[in-house]
Amino acid sequence: MNTNREKHWLLPVVRSGIQAGVNYPKTVLFAGLLLMALLVAGLGQLHKDTRADAFLEADNPALVYKNKVREIFGLSDPLIVAIYDRSAEGIYRKQTLDLIGQLTNQLNALPMINTARTISLASENNITASADGMVVAPFYDLRSTGNGAAVRQAIEDFPLYHGMLVAEDGAMSMIVLELYDDNQAEAAYDAINKLLQQTQVPADVELHVAGEGAVLGYLGHYIDHDASRLNPLAGLIITIMLMVAFRRLLPALLGNLVIAASVLMTLGFMAYCGVPFFVITNAMPVILIGMAVADSIHIFSHYYEMQARHPDWSLQACIREAVAVMARPVTLTSLTTIAGFLGLYASSYMPPFEYFGLFTAFGVLVAWFYSLFVLPACITLLKPRVSQRWIRLEQNSQQDTFARLMTFVGGSCVRHPRVTLSLFAFLSISGALLATQIQVNENRINTFHSSEAIYQADEVINQHLEGTNTLDIVITSSRNEGIFSPQVLNAMEALQTYAETLPHVNGSSSVVDYLKQMNKSLNEGQSDAYRLPQDADLIAQYFLLYSASSDPADFSEEIDYDYRLANIRLNLDSADFIATKPVVEALQQYIDQHFNNAVSDEEVTASLSGRVNVNYHWIKDLGVSHFYSVVISLLCVFLVSALLFRSWAAGLLATLPVICSILTVYAAMALLGIDLGIGTSMFASVAIGLGIDFAIHTLERLKTLVADGLKGSGLFTELFRSTGRALLFNYLAIAFGFGVLISSQVVPLTHFGTIVVLSVSMSFIAAMTLLPALIVLLQPTFIFGEKKASEASAIAAEKHVAGSTVLTLLFATGLGAAVLYGALLYGAVHSQSLQAAEVVNTETLATLTADDIVQRVNAVDDGQHVSSQLSMLLTDSRGKERRRETMSYRKYFGDDKKTVFFYKSPANVKDTGFLTFDYAAADQEDDQWLYLPALRKVRRISASDRGDYFMGTDFTYEDIKQNGHISIADYQLQRLPDDDGKLMVKGTPKTTAIAQELGYGEVTFYIDPQNWIVVKSDYLDIKQVPLKTVQVTDIRMVDGIWTRHQLLAENHISGHRSLFIFSAVDYQQDVADHLFTQNTLRRGL
């Protein structure tokens, strides 16, 4: 079989196929235009979907449930109109109250507003007491009496509305509006704004519109507006660039044809497929513009170059040659870019991202087709002639500034390959490390520029009221009227109380609040009657009474018709993912642990719903998805490059510059404080798709040049002078194209533009510097052929050791960075959620058993982390003193606790360090390490000798570890009679083995019930001889935590005493994780 590829039968077929555009220009052009017309025709059917819900699959449980809840309670994402009155009286001024009434009526008159659901001071009812029971009457009715003071009083007497409907300082009130149909959000937002603009407002009054409904309404318009400004701008810039580059209009026009084909056909195809235009789809045209123009530039440059170089050739020969030469690189780069975007498709879990990957890949394919076939067809037909200026320029270009610049920069890197490599290794490591600072976060309000009214409205409303963001908790009981059960209502109240302790949750409302208000009003308005009635029948009667006074549909948002389902709505002042994530997770944990089994006699469950919950569900996997998309895209481009060059080394080399660029982007994101959100998370695939081209062109060109017989420095000089210069223009075109995005008003797009420009810049720089440097060092066979390898002598091999080591390190770093980053994202997603607060019963001290007491002792908060200075004063029986100064740190990692001590003085123990990992799992032994400066080594020490004395003190390792707690696993506990107000508990080791380990035969603990701290312990040794006494004094509250400041241990046998004095105790200042590592132990503080 003929193995020579040059003579493969397929080759002529491929060759003639590639020349189709030149050979049959009219047919190809016709086919191209027909295809274009067909697909573009579909554009009309394209529809927009800017909903946040669009980011989840329609069958996602969170979304399905949210929609179900919406049906039951009629809840939707509200639009909030806030009335902000800066005057002294606030909104209780008459004019303002009038305005609220007027606005409520006008807003309710809008056709898309679901009037029944409007909440406003002008429409809500007050519940008060009267002689014959309960009066339900609008707050607004009180307006006429007392100049608003009555309204103020009524609101302040109704805790539910105080803070929710009217700000606690009285400066703001809101009208909450809901729509019949979310799809009318844009129209509603426009109408409301128009209405507000026409409204005459009293002095000192401002009107604001915000809320998720408003965001939804404005976002579509905002993005459209932005896109309609950006896309032409990108096109214009590209056109200007093409004109400047070729000094002719035609290349610019033909370039735009390719662009138009690629962008419009892709969008048309999307429409045919029924895929909507999502928020992120806005970035697609710009990306395609960048890709398409790069291909056209390459074809045109070569075509003109042929004309300039071979004036005797026919124009058709020139274009034929241009196509023949450029077909391979253009195809290669298109394939790798497609691979990058398909990587995004494969790794995404959100439909908009999947479609983005898939259709951008399609667009790149279209650009490839039009550049390689339709463009040559047009050139063949139109026969554009190169401008003389261009020829002159081209002839001079070999020495022009750009060529000189590229030769200089590239040449320097090739001459000092190791320096280049080290530099990139350094950059990559920095990037990898900075990447740990990036956080996954998203907040739709941040889509808007901070100067936008909606952004400011959101800010001002969140400042004054309970918040514009809603999280719903749906309570489902198993039978009708199940919600009437006092047990259920108590559990709901506890849940609400717990929820309000969570950060950013500023208020909650449910049927519980109404019932409490009703109970209060039926008890003569006594404030201590603001509680839940504890009788199911009474509760049912309350509702009956209410219905006698007002419309029972008032509760439709809180409870369903059958009283089987209830809703608790929480108001949050932030929609930031990082702010809402702990809330959602803490609530879910509380519900699982405390709510779902709270009621014994019937099955009641609670489920989270609402906007914040849906957002949590789609953003929580964003980090992981991003990570997978990076890995898969990298893998795709690696495989495609390896396949194209038939060399694994080529795959690796082509991918390296892209890895560098991605790491640089992470560094930049961390430094610029850009979060990983929807807009920014897709940068990597784009960066990989675009960045890989530079490396491919470089490798391809080098291969050709080597095949042409160039070697040594001449090889690289030629590379930088020709391809380097061309790639510089290619890079500038893309950078300018994406640079346009930076000017976008849509903040995520600005960020996206910034980081794509940065990553493309870095890919370009790396392809021009790092790649040649690596090639110099490694002399890969896929470029230089097998010959080189056999020439290499043993000495040369030894010399390459350093180079290959650096390379190994570089790869290791890349890999390390990936692992690090993966772990970071994993950590971000699975980070510790807030602990559910324990409810403490107030039993009398006398009834407490020993176990109860110890449980309370062990439950004393010792802070999530603490740092303190510890002075140890050790005195022997003769009064000889030794003093040690240490710094100690403790931190919880989940339930596991890590503690570290660093000795600061005296000189003979200075730099000694001691590190302990104390595991929550009872069967897992602690891990301990000691650093002894004389050995310069961290030594593992066994932890089972817990009865040994700690560093020459009278405290054992176990004493230090327990840190004031009492180990239930070790002791049999028995309560003794109280001693001077202190509770006494005797602990006897459960087994002789434990007694041996601890060195104690019996311990008596004295506990102060005020703070549950063990203030004194008496220890007997195994022979029941008094061994030592530990006394705790100077117990002070630090940062809300009872803290022991002095511990004195006196050994009755040796007469030795150890006094521990803690100072500078700080629970606030964060304690860095790295303190608890062997490395820090070794290096000291």
Binding site: A802, L820, A823, L824, D876, A907, D927, K937, N1079
Partner: protein, 467 residues
């Protein structure tokens, strides 16, 4: 151009080159001094600096020729200066030995082990007959985004073994008292970049770049611990003249570098390391030179490069700590009993250490280590055994709240059945003063690496004052 002109031109060129080199060196020295002075001024002006010193002295008497074999006084200071993210540490050290047995009066090749261009920064800053002033350590610590970078002259210890150098070969050693001093004192700190990169899940990477090619300081012939074991030093042959050629150090600016991955997994501290290094002791090549009347052997010491792949692990089971260490050296060099291949055989070497520490009740600590090294491509002409085996045992007890410490150490080298026994009593009088006394006894075949020092067995007393 005639020959004379050519010669003259060559000579002129040579002179010019020499002069230029001298000037360059002078300038470099000046720069270094001024940089040092500037740093000192900067440091002394700083408020966040700490200064502490230790003055110690040790006297030893050897048994065979009953004589004072060590009379050392050492002053080591430590100067620390901290800023928010950086801390500097400078440890100048002054050492003097008045016994005349540890240091030769006329050092012949003492400074060969330091890079010629930077003798003073790497080796002694100043040296008189028995007195030496040097920088024990000098480094800056920086933390940025979790990475800690220690750059400067420092000691880095890899591996889990105590006193048995398998992976602990990052720093060269001062061999003038063999293995008797504390590891901290015998390691020679070298200039390097030491970056520590934390990875998730208790993993980390350590990356070393060591541009400073300082090698172990060897003993001079005639001093107490001069090496005579045929396994380590070529034996003179009667009637054969030895022609000692200058030591061949690596040319150019060749660097050492290492990478270590460490992790804490399921209770195990594990690490895997790679070190690209020069052996700290030179390979002694011998070439028989039969030209002329005399039978002459040209002896040339050459520093050679190698790779070390290492693994180490340790964990605690109840009161026992298990420590493991293994190192594969790609190129180790062994003396042969003939002059074939210039008297040296090259082979990969695999060395392992298995150690058990037991924390017994009553503050007693027992540690046993088993060391074995195998020459992987063994030839019968190699003097060392194919498998070399050593056992060590350490017993230690602390009393009186860690103020009194008794220790006993035994080492048995199975190759020659030689070894050493050491005992020490140390007492910490108070925070400032500590005293000690001990005995170091070498036994066994004089051909063995320990037995060779049989006559250097000694008893000693010492004190230290910290201030």
């Amino acid at each position: 151009m005639n020959i004379r002109q050519q010669l003259r031109q060559q000579l002129r060129q040579q002179l010019r080159q020499q002069l230029r080199q001298q000037l360059r060196q002078q300038r470099r020295q000046q720069h270094r001094l001024s940089a040092g002075a500037f740093t000192l001024i900067l440091l002394s002006s700083a408020a966040h600096s700490e200064f502490s010193s230790e003055l110690s002295s040790e006297l030893a008497w050897s048994d065979a020729p009953a004589a004072l074999s060590k009379a050392e006084v050492q002053l080591q200071s430590e100067w620390q200066y901290r800023t928010a993210n950086t801390s500097f540490n400078l440890q100048p050290r002054l050492r003097a030995d008045f016994s005349d047995t540890l240091y030769a009066e006329q050092p012949t090749s003492r400074t060969d082990n330091y890079p010629a261009g930077s003798l003073h920064s790497s080796g002694p800053l100043a040296q008189w007959d028995n007195v030496r002033f040097d920088i024990a350590e000098a480094y800056a610590d920086q933390y940025f985004y979790g990475v800690s970078l220690r750059s400067g002259k420092q000691q880095v210890v890899w591996g889990q073994a105590d006193g048995l150098r398998v992976l602990d070969i990052i720093n060269p050693q001062d061999m003038r008292e063999f293995n008797l001093p504390d590891a901290e004192d015998s390691r020679i700190a070298t200039w390097m970049l030491n970056a520590h990169i934390p990875l998730p899940n208790e993993q980390s990477l350590q990356w070393l770049i060591i541009p400073d090619l300082t090698f172990s300081e060897l003993t001079e012939p005639g001093t107490a611990f001069a090496i005579t074991s045929p396994e380590l030093a070529p034996q003179p042959v009667a009637g054969v003249t030895v022609n000692r050629l200058p030591t061949r150090r690596p040319e150019g600016s060749d660097w050492e570098h290492g990478l270590r991955w460490s992790a804490f997994l399921a209770g195990w501290d594990i690490s895997a390391s790679y070190f690209n290094f020069y052996h700290d002791t030179p390979v002694i090549y011998r070439t028989l030179n039969t030209g002329g009347n005399n039978l002459q052997v040209d002896v040339e010491a050459v520093y050679r490069r190698s790779h070390l792949l290492g693994l180490s692990a340790s964990t605690a089971f109840s009161s026992v700590v298990l420590r493991l260490e293994a190192g594969h050296t790609s190129r180790a060099f062994f003396l042969r009993d003939d002059l074939q291949s210039n008297g040296i055989s090259q082979s990969p070497e695999l060395a392992t250490v298995t150690a058990l520490d037991y924390q017994a009740p009553a503050d007693v600590f027992v540690s046993y280590q088993f060391y074995q090294s195998r020459i992987l491509v063994y030839r019968p002409q190699i003097i060392r055994r194919e498998i070399s085996t050593r056992h060590t045992l350490l017993l230690k007890k602390t009393l009186l709240n860690d103020t009194l410490e008794l220790s006993f150490f035994a080492l048995l080298n199975r190759d020659y059945n030689d070894g050493q026994l050491r005992s020490k009593v140390s007492y910490q009088l108070n925070d400032r003063w500590s005293l000690w006394s001990g005995a170091d006894y070498f036994f066994g075949d004089r051909a063995g690496p320990f037995g060779q020092f049989s006559s250097s067995s000694r008893i000693l007393i010492g004190w230290q004052n910290a201030f």
